[in-house]
Amino acid sequence: MMRLPSYRYRAPKTVQDAAAWLAESPGDTMLLAGGTDLIPNMKRRQQVPSTVVGLRGITELSRTDDRDGLEIGAGVTLTSLVHDERVHARYLGLWQAVGQIATPLLRNMGTIGGNICLDTRCTYYDQSFEWRQAINFCMKKDGDTCWVATSSDKCLAVSSTDAAPALIALGATVRLVSATGTREVALTDLYANDGMHYLTRRSDEILTTVTLPKADGWRTTYWKLRRRGSFDFPVAAVAAAARFDGDRIVEARIVLGAVASRPLEVPAAAARLAGQPLTDDLIASVADDAYTLAKPMDNTDFELVWRKKTVRSLVTSALRELRGDDMRAARTKLARHPLLVIS
């Protein structure tokens, strides 16, 4: 039996109250949204907050708002996003990413805010307390050494959020609220390439909203590698977005998932797409660039060298799909089952 450790629970009704609770003792207080990341981590003693602030009673966090683009409250569940026709019609890459997160039962619980703030993952870390104790723990929690690279002075745990690469490719911003103020940052700036300090969010801040700019002419797509067609976190992924003028790309973004401690933008590779028609040769060469820039570590499922190579195939598939190729068969083969529109 894996019991939760003891903790104090708070249930604020407003963001202000939540921020006030958080400000009392930010170092050992954690926010609980759907709990699908935090609760397993608490059971395994990877995260042991003395106070947990439950966000589910804050109704303003579960709203979506159609203004210039789309404002999504941090507490909106992944299932609501999959069922949101606006997401499917305008932000297909986000819909594809969210529809492939975990399982339907977990998507009923998990929120977009929790997905953005998802803890980084590692084979030496996502284990029970006893397992980790047996290896004398590791740098990320209770130990000193990084078992993935023993000479590393930095934790190399993997960013494993599916939604974040897609959101960054779409140019999302996030709002962070604390007892002392509010700030808006580009989602890409919320992340740092450090497995322990992977968020630039201050510990007294609550992520309240994700804002997507208007979809105007942008096409997006998301490709994910995982062992099974369900349950598993990404072990390599790519989100790509492009704005076209006829068959030429005006502007493009490529963001790799699960190959670093943060969603990894590859702007130099994406920039090469601008002004060009998307030929097979250009796709191959940009996919090669992305492959070179991806630096996955040996701390997830699958053999490392092969996993790195899949980045090339994933980028190729993504760019071909943006070009308009019919990629349904390839997608179904990779995902194991078709992504369905469920109403």
């Binding site: 003891s6 249930a11 395994r44 439950g54 399982t103 619980m109 089952h337 369905l340």
Partner: protein
């Protein structure tokens, strides 16, 4: 200090004085003696503990007791009405969709949630709806068959009286 919880379980009001650090799964099994809901991985990785919480299928091993106050829970025990099995349960029994049975309560809950939402889902939709439930015995085909068969039985008026 214990936590006093008031909730609706399988349509009946229930009250329990529980250890506040418990999950809904632990409250159901240990405080309310409803052991139909199974204890699998305890980490969200198997689906054995699925229940309906306010009509939505969720994993009870990841729901903290504090967040259950005033909510409605349906467990596998709640599928039976007046001693009569739900058509899903009959079809699971008839078609060998349950072998060791450990996964069955969670799968019945996920399937019921699907049929409540969509009375005539395609096989792909059934597969998708059950893709968060592991079964180590059947190989899944019998499970998909049984859910499909129950659609027919429900359509023939096999619906339980409420």
């Amino acid at each position: 200090m214990k936590l006093r919880l008031n909730l609706s379980v399988n349509g009946e009001p229930a009250e329990a004085l529980v250890d506040p650090d418990k999950t809904l799964l632990e409250v159901l099994r240990e405080d309310l003696q409803l052991t139909g809901t199974k204890h699998g991985c305890e980490l969200g990785e198997c689906g054995a503990c699925a229940v309906l919480l306010d009509d939505q299928p969720v994993l009870s091993c990841l729901v903290v007791s504090h967040e259950c106050e005033g909510r409605s829970v349906v467990t596998v025990e709640g599928l039976t009405v007046d001693g009569r099995l739900h058509p899903l349960q009959e079809c699971f029994a008839d078609l060998g969709a349950s072998q060791c049975g450990y996964c069955t309560p969670g799968i019945l809950i996920a399937a019921k949630a699907l049929l409540d939402r969509d009375p005539n889902p395609s096989r792909d939709l059934i597969r998708e709806a059950l893709s968060g439930n592991l079964c180590r015995c059947t190989g899944y085909q019998q499970i998909l068959d049984a859910v499909q068969a129950s659609i027919v039985r429900l359509g023939e008026g096999g619906e339980q009286k409420k």
